[in-house]
């Protein structure tokens, strides 16, 4: 390994050292010793100098060693590291627009959705409290992405990060899909990854907006509530279409599944229903930018493919969540396989 090493007196001194250098998110960190970092790299079968990718705008190379240091600091175990590395590869795809996503005043976070067998291996919990402190794995993985942004790309508040408000997901914003308790295809499969392969999807996401409807079993009525929340976001935040994620916990999911609705049916329904007339902006104080385009219809989704439907959440409660995009379609959600090259040619012979 080539990173600079520092000797500190003890655990408490390590905290002060990292905080005083601006290397944390404000919370205590796990001191990244060489042994801990090596364990991450060995688990992922990555040499320290392996290039995870190059940030496309500022041309900053990201190596496995540096990413592993930040993962350890975030509390990751070695088995979490492949998820962190793949998420970063996905974030550095051109279409994710990482520089804009991390520097914008809009203040989004990177939402990570984990699919496939790795969820079970790392102990991710897709049920109770799915969008919050549900388990060690998702908490640490989400945090690792933020710490690495801070330390590897200088995404510090007031520095590269020009965020006006931000939201708590900027500490950690990671969930796993509840694949065992749904008839629906996993998000990763919907987005083109073969069944049975672990994958992550990253999306530049605003805070979740929770909905409630426990007074119907009709999928249309349930989804009307989600559509209304998407329209509210269009009116109050950004009218432009982009990737939205919706999280549907078990209670509402079972009603929708029982009616035979697939994720595709849901996406097509919300594509049609989540639309606002530009003139509606005048009702919420934004009349000055309606201009002569009041009759223009803005769809929250540019196509049904832009909706990310995720089965997750605790078993009881008629709740759901709409997770809006940072800013229309300027950024695209990216899905990447973990530890598998799904684009590679199969071996000959």
């Amino acid at each position: 390994m080539t990173s600079k090493a520092y000797d500190v007196d003890d655990f408490a001194a390590a905290q002060e050292f990292y905080h005083s250098n601006g290397w944390t998110d404000g919370l205590p960190v796990v001191p990244p010793t060489e042994t801990a970092v090596e364990a991450c790299l060995e688990w992922a079968l990555m040499p320290p100098d392996q290039l995870i990718g190059i940030e496309p705008v500022r041309e900053q190379p990201i190596t496995a060693e540096k990413l592993a240091i930040n993962a350890v600091m975030a509390g990751c175990l070695p088995m979490h590291f492949p998820v962190v590395a793949t998420a970063w590869q996905a974030m550095m795809k051109e279409e994710f627009l990482l520089h804009g996503v991390t520097s914008s005043t809009g203040g989004c976070a990177v939402l990570v959705i984990i699919n496939g067998p790795i969820r079970l291996e790392i102990g991710a919990n897709p049920t109770f409290n799915a969008l919050a402190n549900s388990d060690r794995a998702t908490a640490a993985i989400g945090r690792a992405l933020r710490l690495a942004l801070i330390n590897l790309l200088d995404v510090r508040p007031g520095g590269i990060d020009r965020t006006t408000l931000g939201h708590p997901g900027k500490f950690s914003y990671c969930l796993a899909e509840d694949e065992e308790d749904t008839d629906w295809q996993p998000l990763s499969v919907v987005r083109g990854i073969p069944e049975g392969i672990s994958a992550v999807t990253v999306m530049a996401a605003m805070a979740p907006r929770q909905i409630m409807n426990e007074w119907t079993t009709d999928p249309r009525e349930i989804l009307e509530t989600f559509a209304a929340e998407m329209r509210a976001n269009q009116r109050h935040y950004s009218i432009y279409g982009g990737n939205y994620a919706i999280v549907i916990p078990k209670q509402l999911r079972e009603h929708i599944q029982a009616a035979g609705w697939t994720k595709r049916n849901i996406a097509e329904f919300l594509y049609e229903r989540a639309r606002v007339r530009r003139a509606e902006w005048a009702e919420v104080g934004k009349g000055s930018i309606v201009r002569d385009r009041g009759d223009r219809i803005h769809a929250a989704l540019e196509s049904p493919d832009h909706l990310l439907v995720v089965a997750a959440g605790g078993p009881a409660g008629g709740f759901g969540a709409v997770i809006p995009p940072w800013m229309g379609s300027k950024t695209k959600a990216v899905t990447a396989a973990i530890g598998a090259c799904v684009d590679c040619e199969p071996p000959k012979g």
Binding site: A14, N151, M327
Partner: protein, 93 residues
Amino acid sequence: MTLRVLDPTNEMKGVGGQPAARPSSLQGKTVGFISNGKEGTKAYFGHLERMLRDELGVAHIICRTKSNYSAPAEAAIVDEIKRWQAVVTGVGD
């Protein structure tokens, strides 16, 4: 017990670019404005143009607007920069 811990920052800096030499005066020079396209840039750059012309003697102002306010300027705009003596960008909410 002493702990040996590692530096989490990016010690391998990217290629990046070097700042151009600063002009000693803007008198008679060409200055480019690269707007991010947001509403607030119109008044800002309008005011700045008057100041640069009236107070510093700038001869020409070239205005260009990015198509995506969160992404770098298009290659065609970047290509024009070498014909300017100064550029103002990175502002405008």
